[in-house]
């Protein structure tokens, strides 16, 4: 007997057959399970993308540069007044606060807290 015939004889055993209806039921279950798994994976990825997007946006919004002081992180509350487009508006706002506030020292202290020293310097120059 040649080699090929010997090999083919190895696979000549009679095989049992599957029950078609039972197989179809299993197949349908497997298909649904696979579809469910796929939709869950897609939802998971979408949720992850949303979380990452919101996280990055939130981080950029909140991160004003943390300062480590005595083992704790502090976030600066200072506002950058140097931009030309905003400076006029803030000058007007500062003047308004000065005019409206009965206790002028309270207003100074508030502006000082905001690191807005332009009006203070102005007052010093005038005096």
């Amino acid at each position: 007997m040649n080699f090929e015939a010997k090999l083919q004889k190895t696979f000549s055993s009679t095989s049992e057959m599957l029950e078609p209806e039972q197989f179809i039921n299993k197949l349908t279950t497997a298909r649904y399970a696979q579809a469910l798994k796929r939709s869950q994976a897609i939802s998971g990825y979408l949720a992850l993308i949303v979380v990452l997007f919101v996280g990055i946006l939130g981080y950029n919004e909140l991160d004003q540069g943390a300062i480590l002081m005595d083992g704790s992180y502090y976030y600066s509350t200072s506002i950058d007044f140097d931009q030309d487009e905003d400076s006029e508006y803030f000058d007007d706002l500062a003047l308004y606060i000065m005019e409206q506030e009965e206790d002028i020292w309270m207003a100074f202290s508030f502006l000082d807290e905001l690191a807005y020293d332009k009006i203070v310097n102005l007052m010093e120059e005038e005096s």
């Binding site: 090999l7 095989s15 049992e16 599957l18 078609p20 197989f23 179809i24 497997a30």
Partner: protein, 175 residues
Amino acid sequence: MKTDRELIQEFQTGSDAAFNELVRRYLDLVYRFFQKITPDKMEAEDLAQTVFIKLFKALKKFRFESEFNTYLYRVNVNTANSYFKRNKWRNMLHLDQAPDTGYVETSQEKQWRKEEVWAAVGRLPKKQRLVVMMRISQALPFKDIGNILDMTEGSAKVNYHHGIKRVKLLLGNNK
């Protein structure tokens, strides 16, 4: 009785019953194919299931460029090829740990030899592996093998010749 083409067309318009009819029609062929590849009945059933799940997805876009029979064989062969790749290391282990044939019963010996043959086939380059697999498990003519694997009859013969030579060597060296 509806033809395969009619059933596929019905399935493409949304009839799952038509697909189930195709499963009934080809289950024996697919299961028998994988029974020759693995001695594990559960594994053969899983592989058959994989084939029909692939078909369920693929038939929706089937354009009848080839016969359904040929297409089904291609899916079978590709699934078997993935199975071989997945089990390459396991098969190599089987081959290396082959027991002395004198100590095993005849029925077990036959089954084990089947694994031994597939372990050797699994070590062949892809084209040779596919041709040898189709030829020794399905006893198909080279013309049909060429048609299924998208190669000429001559190329199938050459690949078979080199593949079988290597299988002979692997099985011979193992004894």
